[in-house]
Protein backbone atom coordinates (compact mmCIF):
# COMPACT_ATOMS: atom_id res chain seq x y z
CA UNK A 1 0.00 0.00 0.00
CA UNK A 2 1.31 3.44 -1.01
CA UNK A 3 1.90 6.06 1.70
CA UNK A 4 0.76 9.38 0.26
CA UNK A 5 1.34 11.30 3.45
CA UNK A 6 4.01 10.73 6.10
CA UNK A 7 5.53 12.67 8.95
CA UNK A 8 8.77 12.17 10.86
CA UNK A 9 9.32 13.66 14.30
CA UNK A 10 6.84 16.37 13.47
CA UNK A 11 6.11 19.07 16.06
CA UNK A 12 3.23 21.39 15.33
CA UNK A 13 2.21 24.55 17.14
CA UNK A 14 2.46 28.31 16.98
CA UNK A 15 5.09 30.97 17.19
CA UNK A 16 4.30 33.95 19.35
CA UNK A 17 7.01 36.46 18.65
CA UNK A 18 10.16 34.45 19.11
CA UNK A 19 8.79 31.84 21.51
CA UNK A 20 7.54 28.60 20.08
CA UNK A 21 4.40 27.11 21.54
CA UNK A 22 4.35 23.43 20.61
CA UNK A 23 0.94 21.77 20.71
CA UNK A 24 1.70 18.26 19.50
CA UNK A 25 5.30 17.05 19.64
CA UNK A 26 7.20 14.21 18.08
CA UNK A 27 4.56 12.82 15.73
CA UNK A 28 6.29 9.94 14.00
CA UNK A 29 3.83 7.17 13.28
CA UNK A 30 1.69 9.39 11.06
CA UNK A 31 1.12 7.66 7.77
CA UNK A 32 -1.74 8.16 5.36
CA UNK A 33 -2.01 5.48 2.73
CA UNK A 34 -3.85 5.47 -0.56
CA UNK A 35 -7.37 4.10 -0.18
CA UNK A 36 -7.76 5.01 3.48
CA UNK A 37 -10.42 7.12 5.13
CA UNK A 38 -8.95 8.44 8.38
CA UNK A 39 -10.64 10.27 11.25
CA UNK A 40 -8.56 12.68 13.31
CA UNK A 41 -10.04 12.90 16.78
CA UNK A 42 -9.18 14.68 19.97
CA UNK A 43 -10.80 17.02 22.43
CA UNK A 44 -11.28 20.72 21.77
CA UNK A 45 -8.01 22.62 21.71
CA UNK A 46 -5.77 19.58 21.38
CA UNK A 47 -4.51 20.76 18.00
CA UNK A 48 -6.52 18.92 15.35
CA UNK A 49 -6.80 21.99 13.16
CA UNK A 50 -3.18 22.94 13.77
CA UNK A 51 -2.05 19.48 12.68
CA UNK A 52 -4.25 19.55 9.56
CA UNK A 53 -3.11 23.07 8.66
CA UNK A 54 0.51 22.03 9.08
CA UNK A 55 0.05 18.92 6.95
CA UNK A 56 -1.66 21.09 4.34
CA UNK A 57 1.31 23.46 4.27
CA UNK A 58 -0.73 26.40 5.54
CA UNK A 59 1.56 26.84 8.51
CA UNK A 60 5.14 25.81 9.18
CA UNK A 61 5.94 22.88 11.46
CA UNK A 62 8.02 23.81 14.50
CA UNK A 63 10.21 20.76 13.86
CA UNK A 64 10.39 17.64 11.75
CA UNK A 65 9.46 16.97 8.19
CA UNK A 66 6.60 15.74 6.06
CA UNK A 67 6.58 13.69 2.90
CA UNK A 68 3.99 13.79 0.15
CA UNK A 69 4.11 10.64 -2.01
CA UNK A 70 7.59 10.02 -0.65
CA UNK A 71 8.94 13.49 -1.50
CA UNK A 72 10.01 15.86 1.27
CA UNK A 73 7.43 18.62 1.30
CA UNK A 74 10.15 21.27 1.60
CA UNK A 75 11.33 20.25 -1.84
CA UNK A 76 7.90 20.77 -3.40
CA UNK A 77 6.69 24.09 -4.78
CA UNK A 78 3.25 25.39 -3.81
CA UNK A 79 2.03 24.57 -7.29
CA UNK A 80 3.32 20.99 -7.10
CA UNK A 81 1.73 20.59 -3.65
CA UNK A 82 -1.56 21.95 -4.95
CA UNK A 83 -1.73 19.00 -7.34
CA UNK A 84 -1.11 16.50 -4.54
CA UNK A 85 -3.13 17.82 -1.63
CA UNK A 86 -6.37 19.74 -1.29
CA UNK A 87 -8.23 21.07 1.73
CA UNK A 88 -11.70 21.77 3.07
CA UNK A 89 -11.48 24.28 5.92
CA UNK A 90 -13.82 25.33 8.71
CA UNK A 91 -13.42 29.07 8.57
CA UNK A 92 -14.33 29.74 5.02
CA UNK A 93 -15.17 33.21 3.83
CA UNK A 94 -16.46 32.67 0.36
CA UNK A 95 -17.40 35.69 -1.74
CA UNK A 96 -21.13 36.17 -2.18
CA UNK A 97 -20.66 36.57 -5.91
CA UNK A 98 -19.44 33.01 -6.40
CA UNK A 99 -21.88 30.48 -7.74
CA UNK A 100 -21.45 26.84 -6.80
CA UNK A 101 -20.08 26.06 -10.23
CA UNK A 102 -17.58 28.93 -10.13
CA UNK A 103 -16.43 27.79 -6.70
CA UNK A 104 -15.84 24.26 -7.93
CA UNK A 105 -14.10 25.59 -11.05
CA UNK A 106 -11.52 27.26 -8.80
CA UNK A 107 -10.37 23.75 -7.96
CA UNK A 108 -9.05 23.43 -11.50
CA UNK A 109 -6.81 26.51 -11.21
CA UNK A 110 -3.53 24.67 -10.51
CA UNK A 111 -3.94 23.16 -13.99
CA UNK A 112 -4.70 26.39 -15.88
CA UNK A 113 -2.51 29.10 -17.41
CA UNK A 114 -2.20 32.71 -16.15
CA UNK A 115 -5.59 33.75 -17.51
CA UNK A 116 -7.29 30.83 -15.73
CA UNK A 117 -9.00 29.59 -18.88
CA UNK A 118 -10.70 26.24 -18.38
CA UNK A 119 -10.65 23.89 -21.32
CA UNK A 120 -13.35 21.37 -22.23
CA UNK A 121 -11.84 18.56 -20.14
CA UNK A 122 -11.60 20.89 -17.11
CA UNK A 123 -15.27 21.74 -17.51
CA UNK A 124 -16.19 18.06 -17.86
CA UNK A 125 -14.24 17.25 -14.71
CA UNK A 126 -16.01 20.05 -12.80
CA UNK A 127 -19.35 18.64 -13.94
CA UNK A 128 -18.28 15.19 -12.78
CA UNK A 129 -17.36 16.53 -9.32
CA UNK A 130 -20.70 18.32 -9.06
CA UNK A 131 -22.44 15.05 -9.94
CA UNK A 132 -20.44 12.96 -7.48
CA UNK A 133 -21.29 15.29 -4.63
CA UNK A 134 -24.94 15.41 -5.66
CA UNK A 135 -25.11 19.17 -6.16
CA UNK A 136 -25.29 19.42 -9.93
CA UNK A 137 -28.79 20.90 -9.71
CA UNK A 138 -27.42 23.70 -7.52
CA UNK A 139 -24.66 24.71 -9.93
CA UNK A 140 -26.03 28.16 -10.72
CA UNK A 141 -26.99 29.04 -7.14
CA UNK A 142 -24.87 31.47 -5.16
CA UNK A 143 -22.80 29.79 -2.46
CA UNK A 144 -24.46 31.89 0.24
CA UNK A 145 -27.94 30.75 -0.76
CA UNK A 146 -27.11 27.16 0.15
CA UNK A 147 -27.81 25.27 3.36
CA UNK A 148 -24.91 24.17 5.60
CA UNK A 149 -25.01 20.67 4.15
CA UNK A 150 -25.03 21.93 0.56
CA UNK A 151 -22.19 24.35 1.32
CA UNK A 152 -20.10 21.54 2.76
CA UNK A 153 -20.76 19.41 -0.30
CA UNK A 154 -19.75 22.27 -2.63
CA UNK A 155 -16.51 22.76 -0.73
CA UNK A 156 -15.82 19.04 -1.03
CA UNK A 157 -16.63 19.20 -4.74
CA UNK A 158 -14.10 22.02 -5.07
CA UNK A 159 -11.46 19.88 -3.35
CA UNK A 160 -12.30 16.93 -5.63
CA UNK A 161 -11.94 19.18 -8.67
CA UNK A 162 -8.35 19.77 -7.59
CA UNK A 163 -7.83 16.07 -8.37
CA UNK A 164 -5.33 15.38 -5.59
CA UNK A 165 -4.32 12.11 -3.95
CA UNK A 166 -4.76 13.58 -0.48
CA UNK A 167 -7.72 15.55 0.86
CA UNK A 168 -7.65 17.06 4.34
CA UNK A 169 -10.94 18.23 5.84
CA UNK A 170 -11.40 20.23 9.02
CA UNK A 171 -14.60 19.11 10.77
CA UNK A 172 -16.65 18.52 7.62
CA UNK A 173 -19.61 17.10 9.55
CA UNK A 174 -19.99 20.02 11.94
CA UNK A 175 -23.38 21.75 12.04
CA UNK A 176 -24.91 19.13 9.77
CA UNK A 177 -28.02 17.08 10.41
CA UNK A 178 -27.72 13.31 10.54
CA UNK A 179 -28.68 12.82 6.90
CA UNK A 180 -26.06 15.23 5.67
CA UNK A 181 -23.44 13.83 8.05
CA UNK A 182 -24.02 10.39 6.59
CA UNK A 183 -24.07 11.79 3.02
CA UNK A 184 -20.71 13.46 3.58
CA UNK A 185 -19.12 10.42 5.23
CA UNK A 186 -20.44 8.11 2.51
CA UNK A 187 -19.04 10.43 -0.13
CA UNK A 188 -15.63 10.54 1.57
CA UNK A 189 -15.62 6.77 2.00
CA UNK A 190 -16.40 6.31 -1.66
CA UNK A 191 -13.62 8.70 -2.69
CA UNK A 192 -11.12 6.91 -0.45
CA UNK A 193 -12.09 3.59 -1.96
CA UNK A 194 -11.07 5.02 -5.33
CA UNK A 195 -7.50 5.39 -4.08
CA UNK A 196 -7.40 8.73 -2.34
CA UNK A 197 -6.12 9.25 1.18
CA UNK A 198 -8.72 11.27 3.06
CA UNK A 199 -8.17 12.66 6.55
CA UNK A 200 -10.88 14.55 8.40
CA UNK A 201 -11.08 15.91 11.92
CA UNK A 202 -14.33 15.31 13.73
CA UNK A 203 -16.21 15.19 17.01
CA UNK A 204 -18.77 12.77 15.59
CA UNK A 205 -16.74 9.84 16.83
CA UNK A 206 -19.38 7.15 17.09
CA UNK A 207 -20.82 7.81 13.65
CA UNK A 208 -17.39 8.16 12.01
CA UNK A 209 -16.24 4.79 13.44
CA UNK A 210 -18.73 3.11 11.12
CA UNK A 211 -16.99 4.54 8.06
CA UNK A 212 -13.29 4.98 8.67
CA UNK A 213 -10.38 2.61 8.15
CA UNK A 214 -8.08 4.29 10.62
CA UNK A 215 -8.16 6.76 13.49
CA UNK A 216 -5.57 9.31 14.50
CA UNK A 217 -5.93 10.25 18.14
CA UNK A 218 -4.51 13.29 19.88
CA UNK A 219 -4.84 12.91 23.65
CA UNK A 220 -4.83 15.67 26.21
CA UNK A 221 -1.11 15.33 26.83
CA UNK A 222 -0.57 16.29 23.21
CA UNK A 223 0.67 12.92 22.05
CA UNK A 224 -0.32 11.34 18.80
CA UNK A 225 -1.44 7.74 18.32
CA UNK A 226 -2.81 6.05 15.26
CA UNK A 227 -4.72 2.81 15.06
CA UNK A 228 -6.39 0.80 12.36
CA UNK A 229 -10.06 -0.01 12.92
CA UNK A 230 -9.12 -3.65 12.28
CA UNK A 231 -7.40 -3.58 15.63
CA UNK A 232 -9.92 -5.17 18.05
CA UNK A 233 -8.68 -2.84 20.79
CA UNK A 234 -9.27 0.31 18.71
CA UNK A 235 -12.49 1.33 20.45
CA UNK A 236 -11.05 0.82 23.92
CA UNK A 237 -8.01 2.82 22.96
CA UNK A 238 -10.15 5.72 21.79
CA UNK A 239 -12.23 5.55 24.97
CA UNK A 240 -9.06 5.50 27.07
CA UNK A 241 -7.49 8.43 25.30
CA UNK A 242 -10.48 10.68 24.89
CA UNK A 243 -12.95 10.08 27.69
CA UNK A 244 -11.91 11.59 31.05
CA UNK A 245 -12.00 9.09 33.95
CA UNK A 246 -14.90 10.81 35.68
CA UNK A 247 -17.13 10.44 32.61
CA UNK A 248 -16.21 6.87 31.69
CA UNK A 249 -19.42 5.58 33.28
CA UNK A 250 -21.42 7.62 30.74
CA UNK A 251 -19.83 5.93 27.76
CA UNK A 252 -20.18 2.15 27.68
CA UNK A 253 -19.79 1.59 24.03
CA UNK A 254 -18.37 3.72 21.29
Amino acid sequence: MKALLEANNLTVGYKKGKTEIPIISGISQLQGASGKLIALIGMNGTGKSTLLRTLAGLQHPLAGEMHLSGVNSNKLSVVEKSKMLSVVLTHYAISGLLTVEELVQLGRYPYTNWSATLNASDLDFVQECLEKTGILHLRNKLFHELSDGQQQKSLIARALAQNTGIILLDEPTNHLDIKNKVDVLTLLKDQASHGKCIVFSTHDIQLSMKFVDEVWIIDQQGSFTSTSMDNPQAKNLIKDKLVPAEYKWLVDEL
Binding site: E80, K81, I94, S95, L97, E102, L106
Partner: protein
Protein backbone atom coordinates in the same frame (compact mmCIF):
# COMPACT_ATOMS: atom_id res chain seq x y z
CA UNK B 1 -22.62 33.84 -19.33
CA UNK B 2 -21.46 36.09 -22.12
CA UNK B 3 -20.91 39.75 -21.43
CA UNK B 4 -19.87 40.74 -24.94
CA UNK B 5 -23.01 42.79 -25.52
CA UNK B 6 -22.45 44.76 -22.31
CA UNK B 7 -18.91 45.61 -23.35
CA UNK B 8 -19.99 46.71 -26.81
CA UNK B 9 -22.75 48.94 -25.51
CA UNK B 10 -20.50 50.41 -22.83
CA UNK B 11 -17.89 51.21 -25.46
CA UNK B 12 -20.54 53.06 -27.46
CA UNK B 13 -21.55 54.99 -24.32
CA UNK B 14 -17.90 55.80 -23.69
CA UNK B 15 -17.43 57.12 -27.24
CA UNK B 16 -20.57 59.19 -26.94
CA UNK B 17 -19.42 60.67 -23.62
CA UNK B 18 -16.00 61.40 -25.12
CA UNK B 19 -17.52 63.34 -28.02
CA UNK B 20 -19.87 65.16 -25.66
CA UNK B 21 -16.99 66.10 -23.39
CA UNK B 22 -15.07 67.44 -26.39
CA UNK B 23 -18.00 69.60 -27.38
CA UNK B 24 -18.58 71.04 -23.93
CA UNK B 25 -16.61 73.85 -22.36
CA UNK B 26 -16.69 77.51 -21.47
CA UNK B 27 -16.18 78.38 -25.16
CA UNK B 28 -18.80 77.13 -27.57
CA UNK B 29 -17.25 75.37 -30.57
CA UNK B 30 -19.47 73.76 -33.22
CA UNK B 31 -19.13 70.01 -33.63
CA UNK B 32 -17.91 70.13 -37.23
CA UNK B 33 -15.14 72.56 -36.24
CA UNK B 34 -14.09 70.18 -33.44
CA UNK B 35 -13.96 67.36 -35.94
CA UNK B 36 -11.81 69.30 -38.37
CA UNK B 37 -9.47 70.26 -35.51
CA UNK B 38 -9.18 66.58 -34.60
CA UNK B 39 -8.32 65.44 -38.10
CA UNK B 40 -5.79 68.25 -38.42
CA UNK B 41 -7.59 70.46 -40.94
CA UNK B 42 -7.58 73.48 -38.68
CA UNK B 43 -10.53 75.59 -37.54
CA UNK B 44 -12.13 78.78 -38.81
CA UNK B 45 -11.20 80.48 -35.53
CA UNK B 46 -7.53 79.63 -34.87
CA UNK B 47 -7.82 79.59 -31.07
CA UNK B 48 -10.46 76.85 -31.30
CA UNK B 49 -7.91 74.40 -32.59
CA UNK B 50 -5.72 75.14 -29.59
CA UNK B 51 -8.63 74.73 -27.18
CA UNK B 52 -9.61 71.37 -28.66
CA UNK B 53 -6.15 69.87 -29.07
CA UNK B 54 -4.34 71.61 -26.22
CA UNK B 55 -7.00 71.52 -23.51
CA UNK B 56 -10.04 69.36 -24.15
CA UNK B 57 -8.36 66.36 -25.72
CA UNK B 58 -5.69 66.05 -22.99
CA UNK B 59 -8.40 66.49 -20.35
CA UNK B 60 -10.42 63.64 -21.87
CA UNK B 61 -7.34 61.43 -22.08
CA UNK B 62 -6.60 62.25 -18.44
CA UNK B 63 -10.18 61.41 -17.45
CA UNK B 64 -10.00 58.08 -19.30
CA UNK B 65 -6.79 56.90 -17.68
CA UNK B 66 -7.56 58.32 -14.24
CA UNK B 67 -10.97 56.64 -14.34
CA UNK B 68 -9.48 53.30 -15.34
CA UNK B 69 -6.59 53.51 -12.89
CA UNK B 70 -8.61 54.51 -9.86
CA UNK B 71 -11.35 51.94 -10.50
CA UNK B 72 -8.94 49.08 -10.96
CA UNK B 73 -6.92 50.17 -7.89
CA UNK B 74 -10.12 50.17 -5.86
CA UNK B 75 -11.08 46.74 -7.15
CA UNK B 76 -7.64 45.36 -6.23
CA UNK B 77 -7.83 46.79 -2.71
CA UNK B 78 -11.36 45.48 -2.15
CA UNK B 79 -10.33 41.98 -3.15
CA UNK B 80 -7.07 42.02 -1.19
CA UNK B 81 -8.68 43.33 1.98
CA UNK B 82 -12.02 41.57 1.49
CA UNK B 83 -13.60 44.86 2.40
CA UNK B 84 -16.29 46.65 0.38
CA UNK B 85 -15.18 50.02 1.76
CA UNK B 86 -11.58 49.70 0.64
CA UNK B 87 -10.43 51.99 -2.14
CA UNK B 88 -7.22 53.06 -3.84
CA UNK B 89 -6.30 55.30 -0.93
CA UNK B 90 -6.68 52.91 2.01
CA UNK B 91 -2.97 52.26 2.07
CA UNK B 92 -2.31 55.94 2.68
CA UNK B 93 -0.90 56.64 -0.78
CA UNK B 94 -2.96 59.78 -1.27
CA UNK B 95 -2.34 61.13 2.21
CA UNK B 96 1.35 60.57 1.51
CA UNK B 97 0.98 62.66 -1.61
CA UNK B 98 -1.00 65.24 0.36
CA UNK B 99 1.80 65.42 2.90
CA UNK B 100 4.31 66.00 0.12
CA UNK B 101 2.24 68.78 -1.40
CA UNK B 102 1.45 70.27 2.01
CA UNK B 103 5.13 70.31 2.88
CA UNK B 104 5.96 71.95 -0.40
CA UNK B 105 3.17 74.52 -0.26
CA UNK B 106 2.69 75.15 3.42
CA UNK B 107 6.19 74.73 4.76
CA UNK B 108 7.07 77.53 2.42
CA UNK B 109 9.24 75.88 -0.18
CA UNK B 110 9.19 78.61 -2.79
CA UNK B 111 7.23 77.94 -5.95
CA UNK B 112 8.12 79.00 -9.39
CA UNK B 113 5.43 80.05 -11.79
CA UNK B 114 3.78 78.23 -14.66
CA UNK B 115 5.19 74.83 -15.51
CA UNK B 116 7.77 75.01 -12.70
CA UNK B 117 5.04 75.20 -10.13
CA UNK B 118 3.06 72.31 -11.61
CA UNK B 119 6.14 70.09 -11.74
CA UNK B 120 6.94 71.03 -8.15
CA UNK B 121 3.53 69.85 -7.01
CA UNK B 122 3.92 66.65 -8.96
CA UNK B 123 7.39 66.05 -7.55
CA UNK B 124 6.29 66.73 -3.99
CA UNK B 125 3.23 64.49 -4.31
CA UNK B 126 5.26 61.73 -5.94
CA UNK B 127 7.88 61.86 -3.23
CA UNK B 128 5.20 61.76 -0.54
CA UNK B 129 3.43 58.74 -2.02
CA UNK B 130 6.71 56.92 -2.66
CA UNK B 131 7.66 57.29 1.01
CA UNK B 132 4.30 56.01 2.24
CA UNK B 133 4.35 53.27 -0.38
CA UNK B 134 7.79 52.10 0.77
CA UNK B 135 6.64 51.93 4.36
CA UNK B 136 3.54 49.96 3.37
CA UNK B 137 5.53 47.61 1.16
CA UNK B 138 8.03 47.02 3.95
CA UNK B 139 5.13 46.28 6.28
CA UNK B 140 3.60 43.86 3.78
CA UNK B 141 6.80 41.77 3.88
CA UNK B 142 6.56 41.49 7.63
CA UNK B 143 2.84 41.34 8.32
CA UNK B 144 1.18 37.94 7.91
CA UNK B 145 -2.42 38.77 7.22
CA UNK B 146 -4.03 41.43 5.09
CA UNK B 147 -6.33 42.72 7.81
CA UNK B 148 -3.34 43.89 9.86
CA UNK B 149 -1.99 45.55 6.76
CA UNK B 150 -5.30 47.35 6.21
CA UNK B 151 -5.26 48.77 9.73
CA UNK B 152 -1.61 49.67 9.29
CA UNK B 153 -2.37 51.59 6.10
CA UNK B 154 -5.35 53.38 7.64
CA UNK B 155 -3.36 54.41 10.71
CA UNK B 156 -0.46 55.56 8.57
CA UNK B 157 -2.90 57.69 6.59
CA UNK B 158 -4.34 59.21 9.73
CA UNK B 159 -0.93 59.99 11.20
CA UNK B 160 0.11 61.60 7.93
CA UNK B 161 -3.15 63.56 7.92
CA UNK B 162 -2.24 64.76 11.41
CA UNK B 163 1.03 66.21 10.16
CA UNK B 164 -0.83 67.96 7.34
CA UNK B 165 -3.26 69.42 9.91
CA UNK B 166 -0.38 70.76 12.00
CA UNK B 167 1.19 72.30 8.89
CA UNK B 168 -2.12 73.91 7.95
CA UNK B 169 -2.54 75.29 11.45
CA UNK B 170 0.73 77.18 11.21
CA UNK B 171 0.34 78.35 7.62
CA UNK B 172 -0.71 81.54 5.90
CA UNK B 173 -4.23 81.72 4.52
CA UNK B 174 -3.02 82.09 0.90
CA UNK B 175 -0.86 78.97 1.18
CA UNK B 176 -3.70 76.99 2.67
CA UNK B 177 -5.84 78.02 -0.27
CA UNK B 178 -3.27 76.75 -2.77
CA UNK B 179 -3.16 73.48 -0.89
CA UNK B 180 -6.96 73.26 -0.74
CA UNK B 181 -7.23 73.87 -4.47
CA UNK B 182 -4.95 70.88 -4.98
CA UNK B 183 -7.10 68.68 -2.75
CA UNK B 184 -10.17 69.54 -4.87
CA UNK B 185 -8.66 67.51 -7.68
CA UNK B 186 -8.42 68.50 -11.31
CA UNK B 187 -8.40 66.68 -14.63
CA UNK B 188 -7.33 69.80 -16.53
CA UNK B 189 -3.75 70.95 -16.51
CA UNK B 190 -2.26 67.58 -17.32
CA UNK B 191 -0.85 67.71 -20.84
CA UNK B 192 2.25 67.00 -22.85
CA UNK B 193 4.99 65.20 -20.94
CA UNK B 194 2.96 65.03 -17.74
CA UNK B 195 0.09 63.31 -19.53
CA UNK B 196 2.57 60.91 -21.13
CA UNK B 197 4.07 59.98 -17.75
CA UNK B 198 0.63 59.58 -16.18
CA UNK B 199 -0.49 57.28 -18.99
CA UNK B 200 2.69 55.16 -18.74
CA UNK B 201 2.19 54.65 -14.99
CA UNK B 202 -1.46 53.72 -15.39
CA UNK B 203 -0.69 51.32 -18.23
CA UNK B 204 1.99 49.56 -16.16
CA UNK B 205 -0.44 49.28 -13.24
CA UNK B 206 -3.18 47.91 -15.50
CA UNK B 207 -0.77 45.41 -17.07
CA UNK B 208 0.23 44.08 -13.65
CA UNK B 209 -3.46 43.82 -12.74
CA UNK B 210 -4.20 41.74 -15.83
CA UNK B 211 -1.49 39.30 -14.79
CA UNK B 212 -3.25 39.02 -11.42
CA UNK B 213 -6.58 37.76 -12.82
CA UNK B 214 -6.04 34.21 -11.56
CA UNK B 215 -4.83 35.01 -8.02
CA UNK B 216 -7.58 37.64 -7.69
CA UNK B 217 -10.22 35.01 -8.49
CA UNK B 218 -8.67 32.65 -5.98
CA UNK B 219 -8.50 35.33 -3.26
CA UNK B 220 -12.31 35.35 -3.37
CA UNK B 221 -12.21 32.17 -1.30
CA UNK B 222 -9.54 33.40 1.08
CA UNK B 223 -5.77 33.28 1.50
CA UNK B 224 -5.68 29.77 2.99
CA UNK B 225 -7.51 28.22 0.07
CA UNK B 226 -5.37 30.38 -2.20
CA UNK B 227 -2.21 28.92 -0.80
CA UNK B 228 -3.55 25.39 -1.13
CA UNK B 229 -4.35 26.14 -4.78
CA UNK B 230 -0.72 27.00 -5.44
CA UNK B 231 -0.89 30.79 -5.22
CA UNK B 232 2.09 32.56 -3.69
CA UNK B 233 0.08 34.83 -1.42
CA UNK B 234 2.94 37.13 -0.44
CA UNK B 235 4.02 37.81 -4.01
CA UNK B 236 0.41 38.36 -5.01
CA UNK B 237 -0.06 40.84 -2.19
CA UNK B 238 3.09 42.72 -3.16
CA UNK B 239 2.07 42.89 -6.83
CA UNK B 240 -1.39 44.14 -5.88
CA UNK B 241 0.12 46.85 -3.69
CA UNK B 242 2.66 47.75 -6.37
CA UNK B 243 0.01 48.13 -9.07
CA UNK B 244 -2.25 50.16 -6.79
CA UNK B 245 0.50 52.49 -5.65
CA UNK B 246 1.79 53.05 -9.19
CA UNK B 247 -1.66 54.00 -10.43
CA UNK B 248 -3.09 55.79 -7.41
CA UNK B 249 0.22 57.49 -6.66
CA UNK B 250 0.71 58.85 -10.16
CA UNK B 251 -2.92 59.92 -10.44
CA UNK B 252 -2.85 61.74 -7.10
CA UNK B 253 0.41 63.41 -8.03
CA UNK B 254 -0.95 64.82 -11.29
CA UNK B 255 -4.63 65.32 -10.53
CA UNK B 256 -4.91 65.53 -6.76
CA UNK B 257 -6.79 63.08 -4.57
CA UNK B 258 -9.85 62.28 -6.68
CA UNK B 259 -12.32 60.53 -4.43
CA UNK B 260 -15.31 58.22 -4.80
CA UNK B 261 -14.43 56.64 -8.17
CA UNK B 262 -12.10 54.04 -6.67
CA UNK B 263 -14.58 52.83 -4.08
CA UNK B 264 -17.78 53.09 -6.08
CA UNK B 265 -16.94 51.89 -9.58
CA UNK B 266 -15.98 48.34 -8.50
CA UNK B 267 -19.42 48.03 -6.87
CA UNK B 268 -21.16 49.40 -9.94
CA UNK B 269 -19.12 46.92 -12.02
CA UNK B 270 -20.20 43.96 -9.90
CA UNK B 271 -23.82 45.01 -10.30
CA UNK B 272 -23.55 45.50 -14.07
CA UNK B 273 -21.51 42.32 -14.58
CA UNK B 274 -22.78 39.79 -12.04
CA UNK B 275 -19.69 37.62 -12.17
CA UNK B 276 -16.92 36.73 -9.79
CA UNK B 277 -14.40 36.30 -12.57
CA UNK B 278 -11.83 39.06 -12.77
CA UNK B 279 -11.36 38.31 -16.43
CA UNK B 280 -14.73 40.10 -16.67
CA UNK B 281 -14.51 42.42 -13.66
CA UNK B 282 -11.14 43.99 -14.52
CA UNK B 283 -12.01 45.19 -18.02
CA UNK B 284 -15.50 45.99 -16.71
CA UNK B 285 -14.05 48.29 -14.04
CA UNK B 286 -11.79 49.91 -16.59
CA UNK B 287 -14.50 50.78 -19.05
CA UNK B 288 -17.02 51.82 -16.37
CA UNK B 289 -14.40 53.85 -14.49
CA UNK B 290 -13.50 55.75 -17.64
CA UNK B 291 -17.17 56.33 -18.46
CA UNK B 292 -18.12 57.48 -14.95
CA UNK B 293 -15.22 59.93 -14.73
CA UNK B 294 -15.95 61.30 -18.21
CA UNK B 295 -19.56 61.81 -17.15
CA UNK B 296 -18.44 63.58 -13.96
CA UNK B 297 -16.09 65.75 -16.01
CA UNK B 298 -18.96 66.77 -18.28
CA UNK B 299 -21.07 67.68 -15.27
CA UNK B 300 -18.22 69.59 -13.66
CA UNK B 301 -18.03 71.82 -16.76
CA UNK B 302 -21.52 72.98 -15.85
CA UNK B 303 -22.62 73.01 -19.51
CA UNK B 304 -24.00 76.37 -20.51
CA UNK B 305 -22.08 78.33 -17.88
CA UNK B 306 -18.59 79.76 -17.56
CA UNK B 307 -17.92 78.03 -14.25
CA UNK B 308 -16.10 74.74 -13.60
CA UNK B 309 -16.73 72.75 -10.43
CA UNK B 310 -13.96 70.85 -8.69
CA UNK B 311 -14.03 67.24 -9.97
CA UNK B 312 -13.97 65.87 -6.42
CA UNK B 313 -17.21 67.64 -5.54
CA UNK B 314 -18.92 66.19 -8.62
CA UNK B 315 -17.72 62.61 -8.18
CA UNK B 316 -19.02 62.61 -4.62
CA UNK B 317 -22.26 64.53 -5.24
CA UNK B 318 -23.37 62.36 -8.13
CA UNK B 319 -21.65 59.19 -7.16
CA UNK B 320 -22.68 58.71 -3.57
CA UNK B 321 -26.46 58.77 -4.19
CA UNK B 322 -25.98 56.51 -7.21
CA UNK B 323 -24.17 53.92 -5.14
CA UNK B 324 -26.71 54.14 -2.32
CA UNK B 325 -29.47 53.57 -4.84
CA UNK B 326 -27.69 50.61 -6.41
CA UNK B 327 -27.05 49.03 -3.04
CA UNK B 328 -30.59 49.49 -1.79
CA UNK B 329 -31.89 47.97 -5.00
CA UNK B 330 -29.50 45.05 -5.05
CA UNK B 331 -29.38 44.28 -1.36
CA UNK B 332 -26.51 43.03 0.71
CA UNK B 333 -23.25 44.54 -0.50
CA UNK B 334 -21.18 42.94 2.26
CA UNK B 335 -21.77 39.56 0.71
CA UNK B 336 -20.18 40.63 -2.54
CA UNK B 337 -16.74 40.54 -0.98
CA UNK B 338 -16.55 38.01 1.77
Amino acid sequence: MSFGKYFISLTIVLLFLGVLDLAIGSTYIPLDEILSALIGKGTSVPSWEHIVLGFRLPRIATALFVGMGLSVSGLLMQVLFRNPLAGPYVLGVSTGASLGVALAVLAGISFGIGWMSSWMTVAAATLGSIIVFSVVLFASFRVRDSMTLLIFGLMLGMATGGIVAVLQFFSKAEDIQIYLMWTFGSLGGVAGEQLFILIIFVIIGLAISLLLIKPLNILLIGEDYGKSLGVNIRNTRILIILATCLMAGAITAFCGPIGFIGIAVPHITRLVFPSSNHKILLPGSMILGAAVLLFCDIVSQLPGTQEVLPINAVTALFGAPLVIWLILRKGNIRRTIG
